[in-house]
């Protein structure tokens, strides 16, 4: 029990560190968030600002935007341990890789959820969608966020410290997130009432994906950051 308490404490410590750094540096808030809104606007331009088209494809455009923005947020959070010897200090510190992984995943998740909230506002205002099922929207958004954060944190650590990591991260993590994109889009199709699919079933699949990615990430992280 006390081991669990220690791990939970360490997870909180790591998550608080990352979030505090974000609050101070505001990289996600000042750079990633505007980027995400910009992508939504670009989709609008590209699809010729046709409200019907935009409404129909809003779920897919939403999640593609989340994934693209998440890449930036993930790269940023992975870079925290790649500067000023902090990565070495972490290895020397005795913090368990599992706590380091889960703590960072929580921090990335919080940032993704903020991003999602802003983007939901974006598709409501810019694409003219209306939400049919708020509960489904929130649950699917959180569960898919967990999946993206779990995979992103793992692959962020995987690419860090290697040559060309900025370009390596997308090609490694996006194929893994492809199923998440499909599931989350279908769930939002239902929640936004643009297609007749069973959103809850897709949310269930998303939950399985989130669980698998988190477990794999937590167990593989040690092999990546420690040695």
């Amino acid at each position: 029990m006390s081991v669990l308490r220690t791990v939970l404490g360490d997870i909180r410590l790591v998550a608080a560190r990352d979030l505090r750094i974000e609050v101070r540096s505001r990289v996600v808030l000042d750079q990633v968030l505007p980027f995400a809104v910009l992508v939504l606007v670009l989709f609008g331009f590209a699809l010729d600002a046709d409200h019907r088209t935009l409404r129909t494809f809003a779920p897919g455009l939403f999640w593609v935007t989340v994934l693209l923005s998440a890449l930036l947020a993930i790269g940023r959070s992975a870079s925290l341990d790649a500067t000023d010897g902090t990565g070495t200090s972490l290895r020397m510190s005795g913090l368990s890789p599992v706590a380091r992984y889960l703590g960072r995943t929580v921090a990335v998740l919080v940032q993704l959820l903020v991003l999602e909230v802003v983007l939901v506002g974006g598709i409501v205002v810019l694409y003219g969608v209306s939400v049919d099922d708020w509960l489904l929207l929130v649950v699917a958004g959180v569960v898919a966020g967990v999946a993206v954060a779990a995979a992103g944190t793992l692959y962020g650590a995987l690419a860090s410290g290697l040559g060309a990591r900025e370009t390596l991260l997308p090609i490694l993590v996006l194929p893994v997130l492809a199923p998440v994109l499909i599931g989350a889009t279908r769930a939002f199709d239902d929640a936004l009432g643009v297609a007749a699919v069973d959103g809850w079933a897709w949310t269930g699949l998303l939950a399985v994906a989130a669980l698998v990615l988190t477990v794999v990430g937590a167990s593989a992280h040690g092999a990546l950051v420690e040695d």
């Binding site: 220690t6 404490g9 360490d10 410590l13 560190r17 505090r20 750094i21 101070r24 540096s25 925290l80 500067t83 000023d84 010897g85 902090t86 070495t88 200090s89 972490l90 290895r91 020397m92 510190s93 005795g94 913090l95 420690e226 040695d227």
Partner: protein, 226 residues
């Protein structure tokens, strides 16, 4: 008891054999000065002893652990302090937040962490007004003191200091020397790599000279530069 025991230790940085076969024994309570030209392998030797590198070949035992095993390296790492060239601090966090984070990361309770960070700060004469300043606003010397304070908090058994005097003013350098004295007095072992031979000589260390990734003055070292 020997704290560090290297037998024909080879360590690679990528494909480069930074250590080409080091024989070295360091006993508990010793102060060792590592010297040698740039590229001799001093930093790599410290990293190897810290458990950050997997030895390519040869025998490496530190604090009773054989460092070929990943689990052993992990156990060694938490008992060792390594002061490297980088600060090891988060630039966007304040001095106080950094110290508290690294204390908590070492497994200290919140209360104990606060007590020890206060202690370490006063030992390293980090003024109170800096506590709430982000690290990126600090001067190089103040950062170095903060890095050292973060290590003092952990009360390590083995200190590995890579050029600890670099970038410090006179007071700072005196503090580093005092700190080494503290560590030895507390029963710790200290390995210092330094070009400041005169300064370290005052601590009457054993001198070990590295060149070409190997010790050139014999496994036991000579009498030093007393």
């Amino acid at each position: 008891m020997s704290v560090v025991e290297l037998r024909a230790a080879v360590a690679l940085l990528g494909r480069f054999p930074a250590l080409s076969g080091v024989d070295l024994t360091i006993h508990a309570g010793e102060t060792v000065l590592l010297r040698g030209p740039n590229g001799a392998g001093k930093t790599t030797l410290l990293h190897l002893c810290a458990g950050l590198l997997r030895p390519e070949s040869g025998g490496v035992r530190v604090l009773g652990h054989d460092l070929t095993g990943a689990a052993d390296r992990r156990s060694v790492r938490r008992r060792v302090a390594l002061l490297g060239h980088a600060t090891g601090l988060y630039d966007d966090l304040t001095v106080g937040e950094n110290l508290r984070f690294w204390a908590r990361a070492a497994g200290l309770s919140a209360a104990e962490a606060d007590r020890r960070t206060d202690e370490a700060r006063s030992r390293l004469e980090v003024p109170d007004r800096l506590v709430d300043q982000p690290v990126h606003t600090l001067s190089a010397g103040q950062r170095r003191r903060t890095s050292l304070a973060a290590l003092v908090v952990r009360r390590p058994e083995l200190w590995l200091l890579d050029e600890p005097h670099a970038g410090l003013d006179q007071t700072g350098r005196d503090l580093v020397d005092a700190l080494i004295g503290d560590a030895v007095a507390a029963g710790g072992t200290v390995v210092v790599s330094s070009h400041e031979l005169d300064r370290v000589a005052a601590l009457s260390p054993r001198t070990v000279t590295l060149a070409g990734g190997a010790v050139v003055d014999g496994p036991s070292g000579n009498g030093g530069i007393r």
